[in-house]
């Protein structure tokens, strides 16, 4: 279908983009890669008066190191994230999960920032950034603020960003030395996760010293499987990991849709958590 009519702005830098958003109030939408927004416009599920295309803002793209963190520009495409040597070295979980997103053509356009700002609990990257204890940096008329991932995802398709704020970068603590794995269950290739599990494991003397587990599509926001994380501390073999994974669905509220019932999603979370942690711990 043909999208509804809108005004179009293509700011050259972040300040200009924020001014355009502030002037337009609630009626503006940021256009990043467009791989979620354009399908919504085509289906006439969104009616912005102004579309602010941030695709030409060079400062929003690219990856750099900042001490113990990796800083990824919001407009860095999925394709560039997967190939970036710094991401592969210091944030392997993000590279691995991004490779499962959509298909090559969508990955050429879609961006890390767009995936997070969209706040779809079925998206793969929100749970990954949550598991990595990432921080999101937003710029608004009053300047910049840093939002921990735990506070960023507010509800279904709703982030903590104000309408006049632009997500500018994502900060991820480096996970050098951690094992990682993203386990995604989907019905067909190029489909969204029915459930996904992101696992990070730090081992010490053959045992799990610390584990972080993020859940995709187990509620209206991405979640941490806190009970499983706690039960994993000290796990020394596959049986102990399997026992810890039994609590992966505790305190989740998975939805019902044409792909799965809440009970089936809870089952998947347990099975996928076991697989993901075993793989991340190198015990698989």
């Amino acid at each position: 279908m043909i999208p509804p009519a809108f005004e179009y702005a293509r700011p050259a830098d972040v300040d200009e983009a924020v001014r355009a958003l502030a002037d337009a109030g609630e009626e503006a939408k940021v256009l990043a890669g467009g791989q979620s927004l354009l399908p919504l416009l085509r289906l006439r599920l969104a009616f912005p008066e102004l579309v602010v295309d941030v695709g030409r803002i060079a400062e929003l793209r690219g990856v750099r190191e900042d001490g113990d963190s990796l800083v990824i520009g919001a407009m860095t495409t999925h394709h560039d994230v997967i190939r970036d040597p710094l991401v592969r070295r210091h944030a392997g979980l993000l590279a691995a999960a991004t490779a499962t997103v959509a298909d090559p053509a969508v990955r050429h356009r879609g961006t890390l920032g767009g995936s997070l700002a969209h706040a779809d609990p079925a998206g793969d990257l929100p749970a990954v950034v949550l598991a990595m204890d990432g921080e999101l940096v937003a710029q608004g008329p009053a300047g910049r603020r840093t939002i921990p991932a735990r506070q960023f995802f507010v509800d279904y398709l709703q982030s903590a960003l104000e309408p006049d704020e632009l997500l500018v970068e994502v900060r991820l603590p480096k996970t050098d030395g951690w094992g990682f794995h993203y386990e995604k269950f989907h019905r067909v290739a190029q489909a969204w996760a029915i459930v996904g599990v992101a696992a990070l494991v730090r081992r010490d003397n053959g045992r799990v010293a610390e584990a972080r587990v993020g859940l995709t599509n187990m509620g209206t926001t991405p979640l941490r499987a806190t009970a499983t994380e706690e039960a994993l501390a000290g796990a020394g073999d596959a049986d102990a990991v399997a026992r810890a994974a039994e609590s992966a669905a505790v305190a989740t509220q998975p939805s019902r849709d044409t792909s799965a019932s809440p009970e089936y999603r809870a089952h998947l979370a347990r099975v996928l958590a076991k697989r993901a942690v075993l793989a991340a711990a190198g015990m698989g």
Binding site: M1, I2, P3, P4, A5, F6, E7, Y8, R10, L31, G34, Q35, L38, P39, L41, R42, L43, V51, D53, G55, H79, A102, D103, P104, A105, V106, H108, R109, A189, Q190
Partner: protein, 157 residues
């Protein structure tokens, strides 16, 4: 209206377009390049795949204004001046990689994107590279074989 200047299949165009105009509609309805079809409303089928600045994109999911200053290649821009097909196009023809042909422009553009990066892919890599392109006729086997054959690899029949 917004002014756009784009190079498509080697020709430069300057146009005034509505910002909401999708690149696929610009190509088909304004430039008459109907070799690239539209197959869905959900960005899933990949029939509309073209190259934008050297990368495959779904042209139903890009605005014409986003292509401003860029270079687009459609399936119609692949053949040589004399109309001679590329090896990939020939392989699709020879290996019966199409039945109704609706998915073919997108399949060829997506396969071309893969071979640019990875000149001798495995059959698995071909399947992954084409995961955003749906074919309702062939069952994909001959499409995969055609891409492998175009890469110069031995394939059975």
């Amino acid at each position: 209206m917004t002014r756009v200047s784009v190079k498509v299949d080697g020709t430069n165009y300057e146009d005034e377009v509505e910002p909401r105009l999708l690149l696929i509609h610009y190509l088909r309805d304004r430039l008459g390049l109907t070799g690239t079809p539209v197959g869905c409303d959900t960005s899933n089928c990949g029939a509309c795949t073209v190259d934008l600045d050297g990368e495959s994109v779904k042209s139903c999911s890009v605005l014409a204004v986003q292509a401003d200053g860029g270079e687009v290649t459609t399936v119609q821009g692949l053949a040589g001046e004399d109309g001679e097909w590329t090896g990939l196009q020939r392989a699709f023809h020879e290996r019966h990689a199409l039945q109704c042909g609706y998915c073919t422009p997108g399949m060829i553009m997506a396969a071309r994107d893969l071979l640019r990066d990875n000149p001798t892919p495995t059959s698995d890599e071909v399947r992954h590279a084409l995961e955003g392109n749906l074919c309702r006729c062939t069952g994909y086997q001959n499409i995969v074989r055609a891409v492998l054959a175009a890469s110069g690899q031995e394939v059975g029949t």
